[in-house]
Amino acid sequence: MNPFSKLKQSNYQIVIISLVLAIILALWKPHVLVEGLQRACLYAVIALPMALILGIVGIINLAHGDFMMLGAYFAYFLNVYTGIDPLVAIFPALAAFFLIGMVSYRAIIKYVLGAPELNQLLLTFGLAMVMEQLANLIWTSRPIKLPLPYVSASATIGSFTFGTFEFVYVGAVIIVLSGLLLFLKRTGTGQAALAVGQNPRGAKLVGIHVDRTYLFIFSLSIALVGAIGAIFMTRHSIFPLVGAPFTMKSFCLIAMAGIGNLMGILWCSLILGLAENFVLSFRGYAGWADILFFALIVLVIMVRSHQRQVK
């Protein structure tokens, strides 16, 4: 389970090759490197809580992106009514969405834990629909955005200008990923959660309160994704369907990295974020960027299944 032990001798070659590629990219198309990195970190930080739920609670939460959407609206209205900056609103969002996560787990998710996979998928899909449509009904589908002066901050190196505010995603992913890894490895609750994720029955036998662990992990993940919504809304317009594509992309990333591999999500989103921006940087071919995510996911899954069969 240790993510670092996986970095064996042979993997150093991969690291070196990717570093060389990154340098070539930096010289040839610096925009792609910087914006790809920022975009990749946004994907990764949204996918991480979903991976946590899938790895430990074992639920594919198709309402994941919609919790982020709610977090974004939460930060927006907090700003409108009390003037709190969205980046400060991260903390109240964490608390509020921890509660929302608890309520959703207790009221809904708990009852499908033992149900077939399909029922869980459909339940969370129904939940997503309810949240999207509720948001649509209350706040209408009009995109809204806060006028924040600091988000357009930029820096210039030579003739190359890039936005610096988006590095907040890089910071967020570092904090969330290292926090989660530390929590899972170093704290008793985290280790208990890992044990539950591996074998709920066995965990129960050694005296771990499985239901409480599920409750905590689910609420924690929802709290994280709600807080990410607050960061997200500083830079992007928000509307009721803003979260839905991220659910899909997070799902793809998790499937690519393999369930339970948190570090892997970061690598996969780096590959995809950079590749996406690389395609976007060619005029006339930008429309093909969307295909990349899906083509790569099909490829990775097919190759993996083939490898498994050969073994």
Partner: protein, 308 residues
Amino acid sequence: MRNLRYLLYIAILIVLITLPLYTGVYLLNVTDIILIYLALALSWDILLRSGQISFGMAGLFGVGGYAAGLIHLNAGVNPLISIVMGGLAAGLLAWLIGMAVLQLRGMYFAIVTLALAEIFRVIVRNLPDLTGGPEGTVLPSAIFAGNSTKTYWLVLVVALVSVIASEIFRRTRIHFALTSIRNDEVVAKSSGIDVFKYLVFIFVVTSAIQGLTGGAYAHIYGFVSPEGSFSIDFTLLPIAMALLGGMHSTWGPVVGAVVLGVISEFLKLKIPYGHLLVYGLIIVIAILFFPQGIVGTIGQKLKKAHRA
């Protein structure tokens, strides 16, 4: 008892065929949509009986629609024949991708089918010379010049094809093969079932039905577009219908499609912007309280009453 049942089927069929006599254009249009979703829900359920969850319905639906529309437009083929050709095109495509994709199981199969549907959509959107690009293509006219009675009969035929296919698969050896694959693949294999062959066959047939439905839909509205023809609704609403009605049966998806179709149409009038909200609520409530679906729950109740 058995004769009575066939009489009932024939009575229902006669009512369905003569429906245009008693209803207006609006109700016929609503029925068209319900029947379209019914065919999709059934085709999805047929594949589900082998244990494979497909999220790629919208993709094959869209491919069928585009194929039918473009064949009609460019080769001047009769619309009805072009609809059938749309179904064949989707079936052929399903055969090609099925050879690779049907090695996968469970969640991975579901994700790959979903991803493939998105890939089809992006490809169609980025080939403007052939498909009209993001704006889509307008066909010269809707099928039968928009005659609602004939259109209804066309959709009825498509829905009946899916019902008949579903019943055939339930009553022949294929049913046992699919059920045993769903229950335990290793056991199925060791009792001599060619698992892969059956999966490819069933995937091609259900995809062809989806393509056929897509072709009919494209010709009814005389219009194909990447966002319209590949809309995720064509994946999600049929699944919700099959689920609400009850899975692994013919009547489950049929009942689910009719109930949800009628409710959503009614709600569209009451709350124009929120009817999908109630849709979502129905799904959540159905999963939490009636995981067997309407047909399954009633069947269980009847069995219990019979025993007592």
